[in-house]
């Protein structure tokens, strides 16, 4: 249990730093609505231990978002998005629940549930996360086509980063 907490703290720090210091610089794209953001930090939300009490999940998500906002200079935007993603995560988990159920005390990984499952699960949550993020970013659904285009273009690059990271750190726990 203690190892799990330390593990997650390390993930938290590494993801926030990599997102805030490195990936932020890739945010500019080809211009227009087709520019993309690389979102890697939601991975922390995806691989957060399933069995953690809901309130801890939500508070941790809030602080994760606030930390990202600190680097992006956009107070509250990532926090609101992260809290939302964390809140709907159980619904997605329920929808993709494998026959044998979840091992609730550890983070969901590729070695546990396979590439197909982890792609569907992270893909769905990432789409939700990006759509909510760009909606809050625009703060009005007047630019809905813009929001959808940004979501799509950012999704392609972000899912690649997320799955790559999951493959690299595919530890057998």
């Amino acid at each position: 249990m203690n190892k799990l907490v330390t593990n997650n703290i390390i993930w938290f720090v590494l993801l926030v730093l990599s997102q805030g210091l490195i990936l932020r610089n890739f945010s500019e794209g080809v211009g227009g609505p087709f520019y993309f953001h690389v979102f890697l930090y939601p991975l922390f939300l995806f691989r957060f231990p399933i069995g953690t009490p809901r309130y801890i999940q939500l508070i941790v998500a809030f602080f994760l978002g606030m930390s990202i906002d600190f680097f992006y200079d956009s107070p509250g935007v990532h926090a609101a998005t992260s809290v939302f993603t964390m809140y709907v995560r159980p619904l997605v988990l329920n929808a993709f629940e494998p026959r044998e159920g979840y091992n609730i005390n550890i983070s969901p990984t590729i070695s546990q549930y396979g590439v197909g499952w982890i792609s569907r699960y992270t893909g769905t949550l990432l789409l939700i996360h990006l759509f909510i993020f760009f909606s809050i970013d625009a703060f009005t659904f007047y630019y809905i086509t813009d929001i959808l285009l940004k979501t799509a273009s950012s999704f392609v690059i972000s899912i690649a980063f997320v799955l790559m990271t999951l493959f690299i750190f595919n530890t057998k726990q």
């Binding site: 939500l58 998500a61 956009s74 107070p75 509250g76 609101a80 809290v83 939302f84 809140y87 703060f139």
Partner: protein, 276 residues
């Protein structure tokens, strides 16, 4: 018990979710210029919409007041028309139209509202909400925006009785606008809103559709007030005058707002004519 605690934890996590989202949104609106602008313009558009609707509703409550105001303005404008004034200097009237010193105000208009009317039989009266207190006198003319209404026959303190055009005893001096030949308007009590023009000799040319206006000879109505158009005319055998039917411009049965005409020079005229 377990399901209850489950429900409680679901509910409390939802509350926590809401709390954190509200907190985030407060931070978003406080801290981000763009979102702040969008939020406040949207809320302004919304509150502006509400305010507009409220104003629209409130307009209905002030409508009666507004009508009174407009009637006063109308009366003022009527007084500025040429037929309500006496030209003192025989100069070019177009060039001096606005010069008040060249004109003497002859007619004064007072707005009034019809409070009661009956159109049944051949003696039709209506009651207006102005009386002695508002300087209404017997034998003053009553008009509406687009035609004649009648003559004041009795005055109370707050109300007056008006004999409408649709009355057996009505007789108002009128003329055909195009050739200035004049006769008098009477009503024989058959069709509402249709009156007869009498005493037009049959050598005068009349057509259906000709406009009938007041002559100005009666001292009650100013000249050139529109009355109606000729609907039908015929000459009875052995008669030297036309029988002309005039369709009134205004619908007396649906009137609501009228103006009472005060001839400011009436006393002078009466004295003069009495001395003859």
């Amino acid at each position: 018990m377990n399901s209850f605690s489950n429900l409680f934890s679901t509910f409390s996590s939802f509350l926590l979710f809401l709390l954190l989202e509200v907190l985030s949104f407060v931070v978003i609106i406080r801290g981000n210029e763009h979102q702040n602008k969008v939020f406040f313009t949207t809320s302004n558009a919304f509150s502006g919409y509400i305010a507009e609707k409220t104003t629209n509703v409130n307009h209905y409550f002030s409508l009666a007041k507004e009508v009174e105001r407009l009637k006063t303005v109308n009366a003022k404008l009527m007084e500025q028309r040429e037929n309500a004034r006496l030209l003192l200097s025989p100069l070019d009237s177009n060039a001096t139209n606005q010069d008040d010193t060249l004109f003497l105000q002859e007619f004064h208009f007072r707005p009034a509202t019809i409070v009661n009317k009956s159109f049944f039989g051949n003696k039709n009266y209506m009651t207006i909400d102005k009386g002695k207190r508002d300087s209404i006198k017997v034998n003053q003319g009553v008009i509406s925006d687009d035609g004649l209404v009648g003559i004041v026959v009795a005055v109370g303190t707050h109300f007056s009785r008006v004999m409408t055009l649709l009355h057996r005893s009505t007789s108002i001096s009128a003329m055909i606008k195009k050739n200035q030949s004049f006769g008098s308007i009477v009503w024989r009590g058959n069709t509402p809103n249709v009156v007869q023009l009498e005493a037009i000799p049959k050598h005068i040319e009349v057509d259906i559709g000709d406009t009938i206006v007041t002559s100005g000879y009666s001292n009650i109505f100013p000249a050139q007030l529109p009355i109606g158009t000729i609907r039908d005319f015929k000459v009875k055998k052995g008669n030297s005058n036309y029988e002309i039917e005039v369709q009134l411009f205004n619908d007396l049965t649906s009137l609501k707002h009228v103006y009472v005409i005060d001839n400011l020079l009436l006393d002078e005229l009466k004295n003069l004519e009495k001395n003859e």
